[in-house]
Every structure is written in structure tokens, then in C-alpha cells.
Amino acid sequence: MVDVVLWGSLKSVAGGKAKIEVEAANIRQLLTRLGEAHPALKPHLERGVSVSIDGRIYRDAWFQPIPPGSEVYILPRLAGG
């Protein structure tokens, strides 16, 4: 199980929950299960987000492992110039 923290604007979509407990071994499972648990989150997750695992930010890596007890944040998809 991992505790996932949502950034502010996703919190309101997830019924005001900032932290959600999810059973996920990688980023793909994490996003899938978050969407299943909170369907309103699904379109936001599909449009693209970043996932921070223990301080390192990933944009697309579905199969990046999430070790148990990791610090996980869902953040806006990073953009740059």
C-alpha cells in the first residue's frame, strides 16, 4: 500500500481528499486504481500528470516501481520552454 498525495486542484475532484491509500506496485497501477476509486479523477489523470516517487519526478514511466511505503505525489504534468 502507498499513500498518494494529490495536488490542490485534484483534491477537490477526489471529494476533498488530499491523501489516498492505493495498492500499487508501479505508476500504471497507481493511476489505474486511483481512477477506479475516484472516477472523477480519471479524465485529469488521462490528460497527463507527473508522479513523484521518493522525490524523483516522472512524467510517463508507467512501469516505474513504487516501493512499499514510498512517498508518492501526483503533480501537474511538467512543462518547459
Binding site: W7, S12, G55, I57, A79, G80, G81
Partner: protein, 804 residues
Amino acid sequence: MPLDIKPVAPGHSFTVVGTRPLRPDGLDKVTGRAKFGADATAPGMLIGKVLRSPHAHARIRSIDASKALALPGVKAVVTRDDFKEGDPDFRDVLRNIMARDKALYEGHAVAAVAAVSAIVARKALKLIKVDYQVLPHVTDVEQAMRADAPVLHDDMFTAGLEEAPDNAASAAKAEEFGHVEDAKEKESDPHHGASLTGGFRPQSKKPSNVAKRHEFGHGDVEKGFAKADIVIERKFRTEATHQGYIEPHACLANYGSDGQGELWGCTQGHYMVRNVSAQLLGMDVSKLRVTASEIGGGFGGKTTVFLEPVALALSRKAGKPVKMVMNRDEVFRASGPTSSATIWVKIGCTKAGRITAAETELKLQGGAFAGSPVDMAAMAAFACYDLENVKAVGWDVVVNRPKQAAYRAPGAPISAFGVESVIDELAHKIGMDPLDFRLKNAAKEGTKSSYGPTYGPIGLIPTLEAVKKHPHYKAPLKAGQGRGLATGFWFNFGGQTCVSLNINIDGTVALALGTPDIGGSRASMCQMAAEELGIPYDKVRAVVADTSSLGFNDVTEGSRATFSSGLATIQAARDAIGKLCGRAAQMWGISADAVVWKKGHAKPSGSNAGNFEPLSLADIAKVAANTGGPIAGHYEVNAEGAGVSFSTHIADVEVDRETGRTLITRYTVIQDAGKAIHPSYVEGQYQGGAAQGIGWALNEEYIYGEDGKLQNPGFLDYRIPVASDLPMIDTVILEIPNPGHPYGLRGVGETSIVPPLAAIANAVSAAAGVRMLELPMSPPKILKAIGGQAAGKGKSKEKGGSKR
């Protein structure tokens, strides 16, 4: 970093990496041989021109192009009817390149013409009849948030509200900021008003110009402020600026009768151009080939499409190649400048200099469509600090201006301007050196960042310590001069990348990259390939391949090209080395495992492997046909692990109190590069970011009239810094290895534009003796601030601005 990538050992001694060879595109660029976007030509080519809305906001009732089409020499006209809306993900980009039911800003494309010459095309534009219903407009971010503002999109409802639809709690909280806290010394800005949202009440059930609310942070800021000995809050304002690339947008499209198309043009991402253009024209991606030209600057402004799908549609309709080139007026009115913004910042600290709470509210307009970089601005705002209580709220707002595009570290310079100004003021208020104040509160490994995640190894403190040691920081100032310091943060990222490395018959190497070179990246790639292969730099030649030659590559943005294409180049070279060793093993009749690659040669791994003369890369390449055919290395990756970056800048300025002119007398950039592959280009990125930041701080601004029209769409009236405005910008490169890259490098293209706005504002505030709250700090604004200070002497500090 993928598991199959091995980092070099700590303390590894590089041969080519870290040297400063000549850039491969240098001679072409200084002799005029380099081909930029507007240099492309094709037989029978037509010229395309765009008809643009003269109104800031208008409903388009009808478009009649019959007279234009009847003009001799006109071969095609396209309007909204030539582009079908399909995938909702592409809706805004389509509506931006060609207006549909409404023109949303002055300069918005309404129709386009292809004709035999530019003269005929321009005549034709005048013959197109557009029936507009002019609508009320709004170009100011705060006004656009008001309940009575003209609404741009009937289907835009604010997302991400804290409590919707009733925001009574927010309103109550807003009023709190209009009061000075009891028993606390507090500097407040009277212009912030009694509301956090300037009268705007978030309402998710009613169409609004506010696309989204973002929030980041942790702890309890109210409790934190209660612990503070001093609290300062200020409201700042920045104007929209343009990236100021010298080369206007340009492309040549050729759509064949067989349904296959080609595009040439200047862009930061030709794969993006291919995918978006194919989508908007209903083409198979494989039927469109895009070639990136040399690029005369991008800085984020060429990370989207403007002309390309229009040129392709014209070419499809006319059956001939169509070339389109924006003039400077169009670049200003109709490409993608950055946001204008208001920034409210409140920070509290103890008398000992420890920050107890920090809060910001950012309002950024993103032009006529959602997507301002306010989320990035809010995440980056306090990222340099180790804070127990922090909150950053951002509002993404639409106005009747051109859709913003990325500009180096999008959003971060804006929030840093506000935050670093208040940090500076707090430090002076408690009598602490601003550098020591930052060191005392600096984020480090293990700090919970202001946007959430806990930092791994980061390099902020080393940049601050380097400032302390730098002679600039201790150098004496003359009368009328001021010194400012600011620090900045940026994320950096990697992304999809594909590289091919081909060994030629003579032992030279052709490197095919998919990331357009906007800052000297080809030279860095050649160095990394040469380093791995053990051959001289000039034996490697890099090209930016077209979209049919390599797998997909993300846009060159996010400081990613040297990081991710470099990583892929190193891996492609290692792939080729494996094959080279295999060929040598074949020739020696031994196992490939018994061959190693050292200093450009295949060698037996030890005495047990046999006694063979080493074979050079050229030896193996020469007989490749006999040993199995061509030798090439490839690598495809979605690179992650780019590593965040920090930069600290020192600015000295001299303010002429009679004219209000600011002269930058000395400037130093100190930044962590992880590993500088080509130090000259790293320095160039540092200097370029500083130069653009100086322009943003002192002179550059989009000026809109009451009519919603841009007043200064040219370099005479929109003043970017020229060489005579700038001192030699000194640079210090720190190398704190990024564990996410085999050589330890970090992206360096963006972080350097984050601190300058605040560093210069702090310097000007020190020199002028008054806190500067608005950018650009142009002479009229400085004179007004100095005048206001003189007039305001004797007023209570709660009502006034800064004490410096």
C-alpha cells in the same frame, strides 16, 4: 535513469567532455550558409498570408472570400470551414491557429490566402469580407476575474475550486488580509485590497474566465504567521513579455496529390509539428514528413504550431507548395508571449531569521485559452526554502490576448520575483545579510519541498556558498548603486528520445538526433559520442534528422535536449561499441565477451583471450561489409531523472535619479550544471537567461490600449536589451553530479532566467531607496516610485511600501 545505463565512476577523467571545441554549425551561421525557416523554397511555390482579426473580441458572423478567390493569382483561401474539430485535446490549438465562432484577440487568424506573390496575397486579404459582431473585451488579468467581466468561453467553468460553489470561507479569509496583525510588526501592501481574489468569487457552475485553481503546500500558514516576529506582505505585478527570438515563424508546406505532405520550418519540435498538423488535417502521421531548419531562437516560443497546419491546408487546396513567414508585427500580435501576472506574497520570520510561514497567491493570464503556467509558478515559488508552513495558490485566467506559449522555466521567474523580493526585504528588516538569510532557510537534501516531494541531493546551498566566496559579492559599490541577490529553482525533465549513431566506412561517425538544436546541443552530443567511442570530436558529425528517419522525439523544451539526447547518444555509442567488439571478435576468432573497448580500439580483454593487435574503430569500419554489413548504434528511451536545478544571481545596478534609467554595472550567475559537457555553451545559457531576465526586469512589456489592441508590436517600441545595455555577464559553473544521467549532467537552459527579475528588483530597490513592486522597472516607473517615496515621507509604515 533506466537500469541498463551505467554511470561513469566518481572522479572519472573525461577526454572530450568538458573541453570547448568549435560548434559544428558555427561557420554556417556566421557566413550566412545556414538555412533557417524562411530560406526554404520549392518550384512553383506560392506565398501564404494570414488575415487577422482587428478586434480584441468579436463574434464572426460570416466570412466571404469570393472576391479574393476571383483575384488573378490567388490559388486558395482557407478559413475555419477547412479545419474540422475532432479530438478535444486539439481543440484549443485548432481554435488558436484559425478562429471559429469568435475572434478572441487582436491578431487572431481568421482566414489565409495562397497566391503567386506576396503582393497578390496581401491584396486578396483586403478583399475578404468578415462580418464581425464586436464584443466587450478584457486584457487585464484581475479585471478578467471579476464577476462582471466579458466571458471569453461560454463552456469554461473553474476547475479545482477549494469549496464550490459557496466560497464564504474564502471570502472571510480574504478579508483577514486587510488587517494588520495585533502585537506583530507587519508590512502590508495597501493595494492588495480586502480580497484575495480581487472581488472574484469562484463559482464552478457559472462560465468564467478562470480556468483553474491550483494549490500546493503543507503545514498551517496561519499558525506559522502567529509564530513570526515580523510579517511582510506585498503585491507585485509583471507585464507580459515576448521571448524575443530574432527569427520569425516560417515554414514551407508541400501537400502532394497522393495525400503525402512535407513541411520545412523553424521549430523546437518537428515531431510535435508533424503530429499536430496531421491531426488537424486528418492525415496519417506517416504521410507527413517534417524537417526542422536551423532555428534563430525559440526559448519556448516555438514549442507549438501557428503557421504550419495553415500552410499545409493551403497547399492541399492549391495543389502547390506554400511558404508562410510571419512579419515582426505578427510575431508580437499572434505568436505566444508569456503571461502577465499579479503576485501576492506574505512571509513571516523570527528575529533570528528563520521563516515561520510563507504564502503566495498568483494570478496569471494565459491569453485567450486555458493553460497559463501558473501551476509551475506556484510549485516553484518557494522551492528554494525549507519551510514548515507554506501555501501557494494559483489562478489560471483567460483574457483577450494571444495564447501564451512557454518561455524558459515557464511561470517560475514571475513567482520568484515576488518571493525573492519579500525575502530580501525581510532580511534587511531584521538586519541580516540577505545571503545569510537564504542560507539559514535554504532547502537541502531531506527537505520537504514546498510543492510536496522530499528532495534528494540538490545543489542550492553550494550556489549560495559560492556567492559568499565570489569577489563580486564583497566588491564595493559607488554612490547611487545597489546590489541585489536572488535565487531560483527549476524542475527540468527528460522525455521521449531516439538517437541513431552510424559508423561510416572511414571510421567517422554520423549521429542522427531528433531534438532541434536551439543552444549548441549538437556540439555536446558529438562530444559525448566521441568520449564513449574514444575518437576525436571532429570525427563525429551530428544532424537533426527529419521525422521519418528516427522514432518520436519530444520537443526541445524543459532543458531536456542535452540531458535526454545526450543520454541516448551515450547509450547508442555503447550499443555500437558492443557491435564493434563483436566484429573484432569475429576477426580474431574469439568470443565477443573476450573483447574490450579502450581508447577507440577493440582489444583482447586479457592474455587468456589471445594476443592480437588492437583494432581501431576505423580498422573495423573499413571491413564492415565483409564482417556483417553496416555498424550502427541505436537507443530509444523515455528519459526520466533529469534532476532539479538551482541558480543564484548577483546584480549591481546604478539608477539615474533624474531620468530613471537603470544601468546594469555588474552581473554574476552561479548555477549547478551537474556536469558541463561544453562549458562555453553552459556559460552561454547562463548569460542568455540573465540577459533575457534583464530585459524582462527593466524594459520589456506588452502594452495594450483601451481598445484591446497591442500598442508596441515591434522592436523599436518593445525594447529588448542590446549588447551596449549589458556588462559582460560573469558565470560560475558548479558541478554537482545528477545521479539520473551517466555523466551526471543537469539541464541548464531554463533555471538561469528565474532569478534575474528579483535580483535586479532588489538591486534597483537598494539603489533607488524604494521597494519596486512592478515590472518592468522602466524609467517612468522608477521616477514615479522615487517621487512617491518623497511624497510619502512621514506616512505610517503599515500604509507605505518598502522601508529600503
